[in-house]
Every structure is written in C-alpha cells, then in structure tokens.
C-alpha cells in the first residue's frame, strides 16, 4: 500500500471538486461524497501506516518539480513513523467528524459547501502529513489556513463569525510570513528543503546563526498555526465556526500541524539549544496562560478552546525539552480526546441550543451518551490512569523532570492540576446538579452524532496504551526508531527508557485527582466556595475572565498610538500653531500702522519682485510639464540616446 501513498490526499480533493461544482445537484448526497472520499483515504492510509509500524521502515518517493538555478525542488511523499502517527490520527478523526457533521449540519442551507470545504481541508492536511519537503508542506499549510478561514466564517451572515474568520486568517498570516521567511532562510543556508536530508544538511552547514534564525522563523509558523503566545488570540474566536469544524480543525488536526512542524524540523531545532529554550519558554508560557484563562470561561466551547491552546503549549514544551516522542504521543492522544470533547460539546449545543454552562446542569439524565463520553474524555485530559491522557502527559512530565529544569516541571504540574480543575468544573456544571435555565429543553442527539462519540471515546481510552510500559514504550521506540537516530542523545531525555519513574507518576496522578477533587468541592457540594474565591482573589479572577487583557493590549498597542498621534497633532495644531498665528496676527495689526509705508514701498516691491520672478520662471519651466504623454516620451527617448552616447563614447 505504501507505493500508492501519494493517492491518499487525492480522494478528498476529488470529493472537494465534486462537491464544490456539483453540490447543488447532490443535495444531501454531498455528505456521502465527502465521507466516502475520507474512507478511501483511510483505506489507503491506515494500511500504509501499519506497514510503517510493522516494518519500521521509511517509505518515500519523489519526483523533480522545478529547477531553480543550481538547486532543484522536488515533491513527493515521505512515510516515516511521524507521518504514520499523524495519518492514523487524521484519517480516523476526520472521517468520524464528517459522519458526525452529516447529523450536525442537517438543516444548513449551505450543506454541500460545508462538506466541500471539509474535504479540501482533509486533502490539504493529508498532503501536509505525507509531504517530504518544506515547499509542499507550506503549500498545504496555506490551503489549510484558507479552509480554516472559510469554515470559521462559514455562517458569515453573523458579523462575529465573519470577523473571527478574518482575525484568524490575519493573525496566522503573521506566523506564516515568518515560516515562509524561515523556509527561504533555510533554503539559502543549506540549499535543501527535503525532510529526509534535513539532518545531514544541517550537520553539513554547521550551527551557523543563519540556521538558528531559520529555526526561529520556522517556529513562528508554529506560533501562528498552533495558537501559541503571543499569536494565540485567534483560536478562541475561531469557535464561531460550526462545532465539528472546531473539533476537526481547531482542536485535533490543523492546530496540531504547528507541533508537527516542530517535530518534522526536530533535527534543525535540536542543533540549537538556545532555540530549544525559546521553544520551551513559549510552550510553557502558553500552556500556563491558557489554562489560567480557562478557569473562568463560561462558554463551553471557549473553555475547550483555551484548553486546546494549553495542551498545544504542553506539546511544544515537550518538543522543546528534546523529547520528540512525548510531544508526538501527546499530539496523538490529545487529538482523540479533544475531538471527542468538542463533538460532545457540539452535541450539548445541538441538544440545548445554548453555549453558556451557567445555564445548563443535570444533563447527565437527558443526554446520557453525550455525558458519559464527555466524562471519559475529561478523565483522559485530566490524566487519570489508565486513560490515554495519563500516559502521554506522564511522558511529558518525565521529560521535564529528566531535563532537570525544576521550574518547568513544577509549572507543568500546576498546569495539569488546573486542567483537571477546569475540565471537571465544566463537567460538573454541565452534566450534574440541576438545570439552571428552564427555557432549555435538552434532548439526546441522533445516532450519526453519538456513534462517532463512542468510537472516539474508545480511542480516548485505548490510544495511550502503545506508549505505556505494558507495551514496553513501543511508541517512543517507534518514533525514535529510524528518523532521528543520533539526535535523541542531545538532551538525554528523549532517549528510550523502560522504567516508570514513580515519583513523576505520583505527582501527575496527584495533580489530576487533586484538580478533580477541588472541582467537586467547588461545584458539586452545597458549600459552593467559588463565590468566595471569586471575591477574595478578585484581581486574579479579573485577569482570568478578561483573558489576561490580550485583546485589549493588542488594541492599545496598535490602535491607541495612532489615535494618540492624531490627537497630539490636533492639539499641537490648535495650541501651538494657531497660537503663533494669532500672536503674529495681533503683532502685525499693532505694528502695521507704524510700518505701513515700509509695507507699501519695500515689502510690496519685494513681493512683486518675487511674483514676477516666479511668473517668469514658471512660464519657461511649464513648457516641460505639458500634460501630453508624447512630450514626456520624447524627453525619455532623447535622454536614453544621450545616456547611450555618453556610455559608448569613452
């Protein structure tokens, strides 16, 4: 199957073409076209991934594309463990979410357009996963950006949705420009854009500043796409899109592409410890900040959005700590449980037509399937063993512990605690207690929606196992197998390990369970200390509920200076200039009597002289500026001839 790997993205592309052109005639059949095309990709992609996993080999092929001077650009596919992992994630989750969308989008007037976009997105994402060089990677990266824009603004009648789409597009653009410059820098420095030869070419070029710059610029792409600090502001707003889109693009796959980019460029990053430190810094900061904001969010999708940002920060931190396997592993598990969470949230929204968790409550009885799968996913993200999130989070904590950086380790623990807390705050507020707004009439969603939920729940439970000690850390061996031989020694922590570190496990479980317990105390019992906490730590609470004032800071940084400048100029005009003019006016009036005759005889004479000179000059000079094109043309030609003459003469 591996030799047909290049066909994997082709099927969704066909689905896109059929849906965009003939969607009008297909009506509800559009969903079938998309789902079947995704299934075809699954049918090709999963055996290919299995082949990689079984043999541990790398499959790739490429064809020459362009010759640019001395270097050539090629395009082709690369199936290594990393790509296989992502294939496993993207094809399955993509298909499930499309099945779910068929139910969720049922009554939308632009039904076929939605599936066309999703198919295009699938195609781009799969291309990105199996791309074997930066150029192809960047192209599909941009197509994904386009799809993201289109889908966030899918309900463009709503002003906020259209604006959110624009914001997402423009914010990620900042990162993309950096990424593109990074690719160019890399190409200039090494003359190579292929992933397979990246390591050798980086070694050949040595650790030059240009390469460090390239790494940093490429990381800009990650910051934009994976919504890292300081470009994270677009992701919460992106929740304006349909919920399946949030699940597919803004939780499971596209935003993970940034992490994937770092993993792909790992050879480049790991050559520069300083760059790695930047990566760790950004990752930890993002993770902490987003988790902090999530504590107080009341919109069900916003909580999940901030949680996504936080978890992405986790992955980036792991990669920055030099643990390729931990980051990738968490990417995979996170994709499953976060997609599940979003789909669950979608189901809740579908059933209650509300997004505010303060209005909900007691949905466990009304929507049992949704509730139980949601709780499973929440347990997974909180890191409760033996669910998938536990294993991957443990890997990351272990990597942090091994790196010896106590602060990072501690922060990550705190974040884990916060994650558990806000997730179970969400769960308890939504599914337990009693319904707070009685205008809501919740009902369970149809089978096309609950089916994928259960399948994903199964995934959220099981996908952690390959990385667990029960399977001998099979996953980390697999990832480290053929790709990065030699590189994992650099930081020591990414290396193969076979024993559980009971201290780290203990900390991790304690943080998770502690968070759940605290949430239970806050929101389940009658005590309800949350109001008290809110009042006591008011500054902190304000900070959280206002999202650390990020939108405001940006508007201040960008908008206010211009307004200020304008005002300042206005005041200057009014006070200084006008004042001077007035003073001069008064002075002139007062002294005019005295100087009347001087005016008449000397000044007027001078003025007239100036006037006459001006007139004379302009009368001659204006002949040059006739407004007739051909006069200019004549001058140009004459000048060219003269230039040629002077050039040739000596």
């Amino acid at each position: 199957m591996t030799s047909y790997a290049y066909l994997i993205p082709v099927f969704p592309l066909l689905g896109f073409i059929i849906n965009i052109f003939f969607g009008k005639f297909l009506k509800r059949g559009a969903a079938w076209v998309s789902i079947l095309s995704s299934l075809a990709s699954c049918a090709l992609g999963l055996p290919a991934a299995y082949e990689v996993a079984k043999t541990g080999q790398i499959f790739s092929a490429h064809a020459e594309w362009l010759t640019l001077g001395r270097s050539t650009l090629s395009f082709g596919y690369l199936l290594d463990p990393l790509a296989a992992t992502l294939l496993f994630v993207v094809t399955i989750i993509g298909t499930l979410i499309q099945i779910y969308s068929a139910g969720y989008m049922q009554d939308d007037p632009r039904f076929s357009r939605f599936f066309a976009y999703v198919s295009l997105f699938m195609s781009a994402m799969l291309t990105l996963v199996i791309a074997d060089n930066y150029a192809l990677f960047f192209m599909s990266w941009e197509v994904m950006g386009l799809c993201s824009y289109l889908l966030i603004g899918f309900w463009f009648e709503k002003n906020s949705a259209a604006n959110a789409g624009l914001k997402a597009f423009l914010t990620t653009r900042v990162g993309d420009v950096g990424f593109f410059l990074g690719i160019l820098t890399l190409f200039t420095a090494t003359g190579n854009l292929n992933f397979t030869e990246l390591e050798s070419s980086v070694h050949a070029a040595g650790a030059t500043p240009a390469l460090a710059l390239a790494a940093l610029l490429i990381f800009c792409g990650t910051i934009g796409k994976s919504a890292q600090f300081p470009l994270h502001v677009w992701l919460p707003d992106a929740m304006e899109g349909p919920t399946p889109v949030s699940a597919l693009i803004h939780a499971a796959t596209m935003v993970a592409a940034g992490v994937y980019l770092v993993a792909r460029s790992f050879a480049l990053f790991s050559a520069f410890p300083s760059v790695m430190q930047v990566v760790v810094l950004i990752g930890t900061l993002t993770a902490f900040m987003a988790a902090f904001i999530a504590l107080s969010a009341t919109d069900i999708k916003k909580v999940l959005a901030y949680s996504t940002i936080s978890q992405l920060g986790y992955m980036v931190t792991a990669l920055g700590l030099g643990s390729l396997s931990a980051g990738t592993f968490h990417l995979m598990t996170h994709a499953y449980f976060k997609a599940l969470l979003f789909l669950g949230a979608g189901s809740v929204i579908h059933g209650t037509h509300s997004q505010d968790i303060r209005e909900m409550g007691g949905l466990l009885k009304k929507m049992p399937h949704t509730a139980w799968t949601f709780i499973i996913a929440s347990l997974a993200i909180a890191g409760v063993p033996p669910l998938s999130g536990f294993w991957s989070k443990d890997e990351i904590l272990l990597a942090a512990f091994d790196s010896g950086n106590k602060i990072v380790f501690f922060l990550l623990l705190v974040i884990a605690f916060m994650t558990a807390f806000y997730m179970f705050r969400l769960v308890f507020l939504t599914f337990f207690g009693t319904l707070r707004n009685h205008k809501i009439h919740p009902h369970e969603s149809p089978a096309t929606m609950t089916g994928p939920l259960w399948i994903l729940a199964l995934g959220a439970i099981l996908v952690g196992l390959p990385g667990s000690p029960f399977f001998g850390h099979w996953f980390s061996n697999f990832i480290h197998g053929p790709v990065t031989q030699g590189t994992h020694e650099i930081h020591g922590s990414g290396a193969v390990h076979h024993a559980l570190n009971w201290f780290v496990v203990g900390c991790s479980v304690a943080a998770g369970l502690g968070g759940i317990l605290l949430a239970a105390v806050f929101y389940l019992g009658k005590l309800n200390p949350s109001v008290w906490v809110m009042r006591t730590f008011k500054p902190l609470y304000d900070l959280s509920i206002h999202k650390l004032w990020f939108d405001e800071i940006y508007s201040v940084l960008l908008v206010r200076p211009f307004l200020k400048l304008g005002q300042w100029l206005f005041i200057f005009d009014q006070k200084a200039v006008d004042g001077l003019v007035n003073a001069a006016g008064t002075g002139t009036v007062k002294s005019s009597n005295l100087q009347g005759w001087i005016d008449k005889h000397i000044v007027d004479g001078l003025v007239n002289l100036v006037g006459v000179v001006t007139q004379l000059t302009s009368a001659t000079v204006r002949r040059v500026q006739t407004g007739l094109v051909q006069h200019y043309l004549l001058i140009t030609f004459v000048s060219v001839i003269l230039l040629m003459y002077f050039h040739v003469k000596p």
């Binding site: 052109f21 003939f22 009008k24 005639f25």
Partner: protein, 368 residues
C-alpha cells in the same frame, strides 16, 4: 533532365508544379463542392437539384463561373476602395495556403513543414483580417454587423479548436501533419485516433469548431440571410463575390481534410490507393457538413458563445489532461475505461452545469 538543367531550375520547377497543382485543385474543389451541396441539399428537400447543364448538371459550375465573371463589379461610392478591393483577394490567400500542408496521400504533401499543424492554424486565423476589411470597407451596416459576428465567432471557436488538437500533438510528439498520419498506421485502421476516448471527443469538438470557423450552418450567423442580408459580403458582386464563396468552400474542404488527417488516419487504409482513402474520408466529412445544413436550424448568438466558452473550452481542457494520462498510463484496458469514464463524466457534468444558465425566455432589449 537532371544533367540538362541547372539544379536551381529543377528546384523551382518542382515548387512551381506543386503550386500549380494546388492552385488548380482549390478552385476545382470549390466548383464541384457547390454542385455537390446543391445536389445533396436538393435531395434532402425532395428536389432534384441542377440537372440541365451537362449530364447530372456536371457543367453547372462552369456556367456559374462564366456568369460570375461577366457580371458587373459594383463598388459602393462611400466604400473604402483599397480595403474593399483587397478583401476578397486576401480571403482566398490563406484558404489556398493551407493546402500546402495537407497530406493528400503517401508522400503527397506539398510542403512537409515540421510545424505544419501550427502553420494551418496560424494561417487560417488570418482570415479574420480579410473579413474585417470586407466588412469595414463596404461601409454598410449589415456588412459591419456580419463582420463583427463573424470575427467574434471565429475568435471564440479558434480557442477550443486549437486546444482540441493539442492531445494529438501530445500523443504523436510532432506538429508535422505527415508524422501525425504515420502515427496512425497499422492494425487495419484501428490505430486511428478517433478510436480512443480522447480522440473521439477531440474529433467531435474539432469538427464542430471547424464548421463554426467556416461560418457554415448551423453556425452561419455571420451570413444569416434572414437577419443581416448576407453579412460581410453584402456589397460584393460578380467575381469578388465568387471569391468569398470560393474561400468558404475551400475552407470547408481543408477543415474536413485536416479532421481526416488528424483523427481518421489521413491516407492510411488498406487495399485502395492512399489518395483515394484520403479523399473518401474527406468527402464523407464534407457530406456531413452539408447534412448539417440540410437539417439543423441556426444558433442564437448567446447559445453560440455559451457553447464555445462554457462547454467546449472546459471540455477540451479536461481532454488534454486525459490525453496526458493516456500518454503515461500503461497500455491496458483500464486506461481506456478510465479515460472514457472521466470524459463522459465531465461531459455530463458540464452539460448539467450549463443547463442552469440557459435563459428562461428571450429578452427583447429594444423590443418596445
């Protein structure tokens, strides 16, 4: 004789013989095509057609020629005399020139250019100039309208026509008409390009566009008698008028001949001599053109343009892709099925897409 005359005289002599043959063939073809057309259309309309002059009216074209030559040559007073005079001459020149690259039989190409096909397309595209001269020079509103219509139509249909030829060039890898015929030899005629999915489609499109390029029915808007008298040659009489007709008939001959060359294997064929095969195929195609005229009503302008730009053009583009696939795919039945499937699917799809855009009812802009 080789030792008798200097070499250069021999070269010029052979050139002259070719020129003479073509210069003779063109008008004769035209003369008897008029007869053929009148006979065939007559039969289709349950008439007999000309039968008074000579056996089966065989001398009718000669009589017509004499009549044309002796008619008065009228030039309208306000006309642009130079353009009005040059137009009928210039319209015949490209029509005659393209005969040079048509392979009439085995080794019977007057000039085997290595860019023969492009030569054909390039030269026939200059016809628009002559039509412009005729329509602008006559200073007659019907001429101008006819000329505008004609040029718009020719420019529009040239695009899908050229693109429909591209697959043939792609597969044979040559622009020489001779090479294209040679590439279709063997298998008792089964290697003709018309027997491939892309070839069939390209042939249909090429032939349709060719009919449009000749301004023949059902694409005869530029000369629509019921609308604009006779289009760009309204103001011409006598031999000048005959020249326009001559160009038109020669064009329909060359288009048919080229269609036969590109898709029907040219002079390839068993048993019979090569030139006979060639003429048989060509005349079948000419007969179909006349058949069109006998059966089909005229297009409306918007239908005409929609057909060219919204249907034929995308279809030819898809066809080029399919031909590229054909070139690289292994020679199996799968190749045939896949290309046929893609082409018929896109045919169906384009038809579906075009349906929505057909105007529901006619709008008379100046009707009130």
């Amino acid at each position: 004789m080789a030792g008798f005359l200097p070499d250069w005289v021999l070269v010029i002599k052979s050139v002259l013989i070719s020129i003479a043959a073509i210069a003779f063939l063109g008008p004769v073809t035209m003369m008897y095509l008029t007869l053929l057309e009148r006979k065939v259309v007559g039969r289709m309309q349950n008439r007999i057609g000309p039968n008074r002059v000579g056996k089966w009216g065989l001398l009718q074209p000669l009589a017509d020629g004499v009549k044309m030559l002796t008619k008065e040559d009228i030039v309208p007073t306000p006309a642009d005399p130079i353009a009005h005079f040059l137009a009928p001459i210039l319209i015949v020149v490209p029509a005659l020139l393209v005969f040079a690259v048509i392979p009439f039989g085995r080794g019977m190409t007057a000039v085997d250019l290595n860019v023969g096909l492009l030569f054909f397309i390039a030269i026939s595209s200059t016809t628009t100039l002559a039509i412009f001269m005729a329509s602008w020079g006559s200073r007659n509103k019907f001429s101008l309208l006819g000329g505008m219509r004609s040029v718009a139509q020719m420019v529009s249909y040239e695009v899908p026509m050229v693109l429909s030829v591209v697959p043939v060039i792609l597969i044979t890898g040559s622009l020489s008409t001779n090479d294209i015929v040679l590439a279709q030899g063997g298998w008792g005629g089964l290697k003709w390009f018309i027997f491939t999915p892309w070839g069939l489609l390209a042939f249909i499109i090429f032939y349709l566009c060719g009919v449009a390029e000749c301004n023949r029915s059902p694409f005869d808007l530029p000369e629509a008698e019921s609308e604009i008298v006779a289009g760009f040659h309204t103001e011409y009489s006598g031999m000048k008028f005959a020249l326009f007709y001559m160009a038109e008939f020669m064009n329909s001959f060359t288009i048919s001949a080229l269609a036969a060359t590109l898709f029907l294997g040219g002079w390839q064929g068993p048993v019979l001599p090569s030139w006979l095969w060639f003429f048989m195929k060509t005349y079948v195609l000419i007969f179909i053109m006349i058949w069109f005229r006998g059966t089909l009503p005229r297009f409306r302008v918007d239908q005409l343009m929609n057909l060219a730009w919204k249907f034929l053009l995308p279809l030819t583009l898809i066809n080029i892709f399919v031909a590229g696939f054909w070139y690289f795919a292994p020679n199996t039945i799968v190749r045939v099925l896949m290309s046929a499937g893609v082409l018929s699917l896109s045919f169906w799809g384009l038809q579906k897409l075009n349906q929505g855009y057909a105007p529901e009812k006619r709008v008379y802009q100046f009707g009130d």
